[in-house]
């Protein structure tokens, strides 16, 4: 495993609409993508870009709001009613190789490898095995595939 780019910080929020207003009006974000539903993951999602060094795109903020009664983030919001940092997502060149490497290290993967919010394959790892952090691993989008 070689540490990949920190693609995004997942931030749970009770209201994506309110969070968009916050990032735009308080923090001054200008690159706020269109929110969309991910029913398969039980969340509504909105990416906010932060600037990287030398004009690159930095780590994104991924706002996630519960979608449906079975959303996996209801529990998090019950404990953190105003929302908060929920997970960290790192890129890897090959998702299947990465999953095999983590499993070989005894790290517990949560569920199947599946399509994530950027349209590439992702999986999640148990926080208890990952230094206390709910960790998402995603395959880097191919150049030109868009974000």
């Amino acid at each position: 495993m070689k540490l990949g780019r920190l693609n995004h910080i997942g931030i749970a929020t009770p209201s994506i609409q309110d969070s968009i207003a916050y990032y735009r009006d308080v923090m001054g974000a200008t690159e706020i993508h269109e929110p969309f539903d991910m029913p398969s993951n039980g969340v509504k999602v909105c990416f906010v870009d932060t600037p990287g060094e030398n004009g690159t795109t930095g780590t994104q903020i991924e706002l996630i709001e519960p979608l449906g009664a079975d959303s996996p983030i209801h529990g998090f919001l019950a404990k953190n009613p105003s929302g908060g940092q929920h997970h960290m997502c790192y890129e890897v060149p090959d998702i299947h190789v990465a999953r095999a490497e983590f499993e070989a290290m005894g790290k517990r993967v949560l569920g199947d490898t599946r399509i994530g919010a950027h349209g590439t394959l992702v999986f999640f790892l148990l926080p208890r095995d990952m230094n206390g952090i709910l960790t998402e691993i995603m395959e880097t989008p191919k150049a030109g595939a868009g974000h």
Copy 2:
């Protein structure tokens, strides 16, 4: 306010030594800086670099371990014994202008503007006013000043 670079994600840990081993051996980090004490802030600190786009330095991970009985992160670790995401730090070009802007918006600043872990001035804002996130604002280090 214009959204600045996401300088680092602060991660509280009961043991910087264990977290360094984790980021090196599990996640494959190669750029791990020397840990140091910040007695003024009640924490021991260690920066881990993540790669940005096109060879730039990405958002860093700032590992923080309690230093002393009065460390402000004892409470966080009592609630999250294995550690977890603690704060997010954004860069601004001028710390005093930024503080005045947040105060004008009614955002509550926690304590004084002070020297942060990168040697430039920083302040923290109340999570309740900042969409649930303990937010650190830091002045961008001058080019050549090092990290």
